[in-house]
C-alpha cells in the first residue's frame, strides 16, 4: 500500500530510485557528486534521486513513508529503526566501525584514562553510534552510567560545550572527532580500535523495493562497490576534492577518510554477532524497549550476488 512511484510494476512507468546520503565524506556522497549511479541506472531506464539527511534516524522515517529506497547508516540507527518496526533490510556492511567513534577530552584535560571519567560530565547524542560506544567503553572501564553525568547533546551543540569547558568529555563520531582534534587540540581518550569494539555500519533498503526490484538492488550494490574501489584507491585525490568543495583543511579530510576505512561485505557471523551485541546492549540500558533479533533485518543475498557478479566480470 505504499504510495511511492517506485513500487509500481507497470513497465511503461518510469522507475525512480531514491537514495539517501548523509555527511560529506561518504561513498554515496562522492558517488552523487560524480553521478555514478545515474550512469549505471540509466541503462535500465531508471531515474535516480538524492536526498540528504542530517543523521541516521530520519532515513527510517523516510523509508517508512516509502519515500526512500536506499541509504547508508550507522549500526545504532539500524537497531532503532528495527525497534520501531520499520520495514527495511540491511543489505550490506559498509564499515566495521572500529575507527568511527571516539571519546574526546579537551586540550590539557586532566582525564588521562577511561577510569578518570568517574563523576565527569560527558556529552553524547542519544541514539547515535557514539551513544553505544560510550556505554561499552564505560563497561570496559568498570563504570556504569550511574558513575558519570550524561549530557544529551547533538554534535553541533556539544562542540561549543567542549570548547568552553562546560563538559569534560564527548563521545562522538567522525568527522566531528577529527575536526575537534585539529581545530582545538582535543585528545582522543579512547577509540573503538583501542577497545576492540566492533560497530558495523550498513547499507539499508526498503523491503518492498528489494522484493519488487531484486535486480536493481543488486545493481545498486554493484555500483556502490565500484565507486568504493575507486574511492579507496584514490583516497588522496578524493580528500583534496572534498576539502576544496567544503573549504576545510585537507588534513582533516584525509584523516577522516583514512579512519572511515570503507568496505562492502555481507554481514558475516562476526559482524552479525557484533550488531546483535549492540542491540542487546541498547536494550539492557533502556535505549530501546524490546529485545531484538537483529538477524531478521539482515539480508545478505543481494550483496553476495553483487560481489560474485563483479568478480566474474
Amino acid at each position: 500500500s505504499s504510495n511511492s512511484e517506485t513500487s509500481s510494476k507497470a513497465p511503461n512507468k518510469e522507475i525512480v530510485v531514491n537514495i539517501g546520503v548523509q555527511g560529506k565524506t561518504g561513498i554515496l556522497t562522492y558517488a552523487r557528486d560524480h553521478k555514478y549511479f545515474e550512469k549505471a541506472f540509466e541503462k535500465e531506464g531508471v531515474k535516480v534521486t538524492w536526498n540528504e539527511f542530517a543523521s541516521g534516524p530520519p532515513h527510517f522515517e523516510a523509508l517508512a513513508s516509502g519515500r526512500l529506497d536506499f541509504g547508508s547508516v550507522g549500526g545504532t540507527p539500524v537497531i532503532a529503526g528495527q525497534s520501531g518496526n520499520v520495514d527495511f533490510k540491511a543489505i550490506g556492511v559498509t564499515a566495521d566501525g572500529r575507527k568511527g567513534n571516539s571519546i574526546l577530552v579537551p586540550k590539557g584535560s586532566s582525564i588521562k584514562e577511561l577510569k578518570d571519567l568517574k563523576n565527569k560530565k560527558i556529552a553524547v547524542a542519544k541514539g547515535s553510534s557514539a551513544y553505544n560506544f560510550l556505554y561499552m567503553a564505560l563497561d570496559r572501564a568498570g563504570l556504569t552510567d550511574k558513575d558519570i553525568e550524561i549530557i544529551q547533546l547533538q554534535p553541533d551543540e556539544a562542540r561549543p560545550a567542549l570548547d568552553n569547558g562546560s563538559i569534560d568529555a564527548w563521545s562522538v563520531w567522525e568527522p566531528y572527532v577529527t575536526t575537534a582534534v585539529f581545530q582545538t587540540g582535543a585528545k582522543e581518550l579512547a577509540t573503538g580500535e583501542d577497545l576492540n569494539i566492533n560497530a558495523p555500519s550498513f547499507l539499508i533498503a526498503r523491503t518492498k523495493f528489494t522484493e519488487e526490484h531484486p535486480d536493481l538492488t543488486v545493481l545498486f550494490l554493484k555500483t556502490y562497490e565500484e565507486v568504493r574501489r575507486h574511492y579507496v584507491e584514490n583516497l588522496d585525490e578524493v580528500a583534496k576534492e572534498i576539502a576544496q568543495s567544503q573549504k576545510v583543511d585537507v588534513k582533516i579530510i584525509e584523516t577522516v577518510l583514512k579512519k572511515s576505512d570503507p568496505i562492502l561485505s555481507p554481514a558475516t557471523a562476526e559482524f552479525s554477532k557484533a550488531h546483535q551485541e549492540q542491540a542487546d546492549f541498547l536494550y539492557s540500558v533502556g535505549g530501546i524497549n524490546k529485545k531484538l533479533d537483529t538477524s531478521k533485518v539482515i539480508e545478505n543475498k543481494f550483496v553476495e550476488q553483487a560481489l560474485k557478479e563483479l568478480t566474474n566480470k
Binding site: E61, S83, N164
Partner: protein
C-alpha cells in the same frame, strides 16, 4: 399607568432573564460543541484509515494506540514529571521574554528616539534562526536551565514586542491630547492611556508569545536535556516510536489551546468596554 407598565415589564424582564440564563448556558455548550466538530471528524477518519490498514502505524499510529501509549506513559513513564518540567521551562522563558518584550515594546513605542535606535537591531535579531544560535547560547550560558529558558525567552520576546509596539502606535492621538491637557505624568500616561488602549494588541501578543514559548521548548529540550515533553518527542523520534511522538504532539496541541483559552477569558473581562464588531 406608567407605574403599572413598569411592573408588568419587570415581570416580563425577570422571566425573560431566567430564560436568557438557561439559554445562555445552552448557548455556551453549543459553542463548545461546535469547536469539537472538526477534531472529532478528523479523529474518526484517522482511526478508521488506521484500522483499515490504509496508513502504516509507524508513520501515523491510530488514536486508540496513542491513547494506550499515553496511559502507559502516565502510569510508568513519568509523563507527568516530564510535563511539569516542560511547563516550568515554558513558563519561565515566557515570563522572562514576554515581560521584556512588553517593556521594550512600551519604551520603543513611546519614544520615537528609542525606536530609531533600538528597533532596527531588534528586527534583525528577529529572523535569526533559533537552531543557529543554540551553540552561542551554550557557549555563553552552558546547557543548563539558563540556556533553555533564554532560548524560550528569545522566542517569546518578539510577538509581544511587536504587538505592544503596534498597540501603542494605534492609540488615538485625540486621546493623547486629552492626556496632555490633564497633565498625565509618564506613569499615568502608560497605565491609563497607552496600556489600556494597546490592550487588545498586547493580549494578542501574549497569546502568540505563549504559543512560541511552547514551540521553542522543543528546540530548547534538544539541548543537553533528558527530561521534558520536547525531549520525549525527539527521543522517541530517534527510535521511531511514533506513538510517543504523537502523545507529545497532542500534549502540545492541547496545552496550546488551553493556555490560549485562558488568555481569551481575560481578554473578555478586560475588554468589556470595547464597542467593536463581534462577528
Amino acid at each position: 399607568m406608567s407605574n403599572q407598565s413598569a411592573i408588568s415589564l419587570d415581570k416580563v424582564n425577570s422571566s425573560k432573564k431566567r430564560v436568557l440564563k438557561s439559554k445562555r448556558d445552552l448557548g455556551k455548550v453549543t459553542i463548545m460543541l461546535k469547536g469539537f466538530i472538526f477534531p472529532i471528524v478528523i479523529l474518526v477518519i484517522w482511526e478508521l484509515t488506521g484500522a483499515w490498514g490504509l496508513i502504516s502505524p509507524i508513520l501515523l499510529p491510530r488514536p486508540s494506540a496513542i491513547l494506550t501509549t499515553f496511559i502507559d506513559l502516565v502510569l510508568t513513564g513519568n509523563l507527568i514529571e516530564h510535563f511539569k518540567i516542560s511547563l516550568w521551562r515554558a513558563l519561565g522563558g515566557f515570563i522572562l521574554g514576554g515581560t521584556l518584550g512588553l517593556l521594550v515594546g512600551v519604551a520603543v513605542g513611546f519614544k520615537k528616539n528609542i525606536e530609531q535606535t533600538v528597533d532596527p537591531t531588534i528586527q534583525m535579531l528577529r529572523t535569526i534562526p533559533t537552531l543557529a544560535v543554540i551553540p552561542l547560547f551554550i557557549l555563553w550560558f552552558g546547557f543548563g536551565e539558563v540556556s533553555k529558558i533564554l532560548l524560550i525567552a528569545k522566542g517569546a520576546f518578539f510577538p509581544l514586542y511587536v504587538n505592544t509596539f503596534l498597540g501603542i502606535r494605534t492609540v488615538d492621538s485625540k486621546l493623547f491630547d486629552v492626556a496632555k491637557v490633564l497633565e498625565f505624568n509618564r506613569w499615568q500616561l502608560i497605565t491609563r492611556l497607552i496600556l489600556p488602549s494597546a490592550l487588545p494588541n498586547i493580549l494578542l501578543g501574549l497569546r502568540l508569545s505563549i504559543g512560541v514559548a511552547w514551540l521553542a521548548l522543543v528546540a530548547a529540550e534538544l539541548m543537553g536535556s533528558s527530561e521534558g515533553i520536547g525531549y520525549l518527542i525527539m527521543d522517541a523520534r530517534q527510535f521511531s516510536q511514533t506513538s510517543i511522538v504523537f502523545v507529545g504532539i497532542i500534549i502540545f496541541a492541547v496545552f496550546g489551546k488551553v493556555s490560549d483559552s485562558i488568555v481569551k477569558v481575560f481578554e473578555k473581562r478586560l475588554l468589556k468596554w470595547q464597542d467593536n464588531f463581534k462577528g
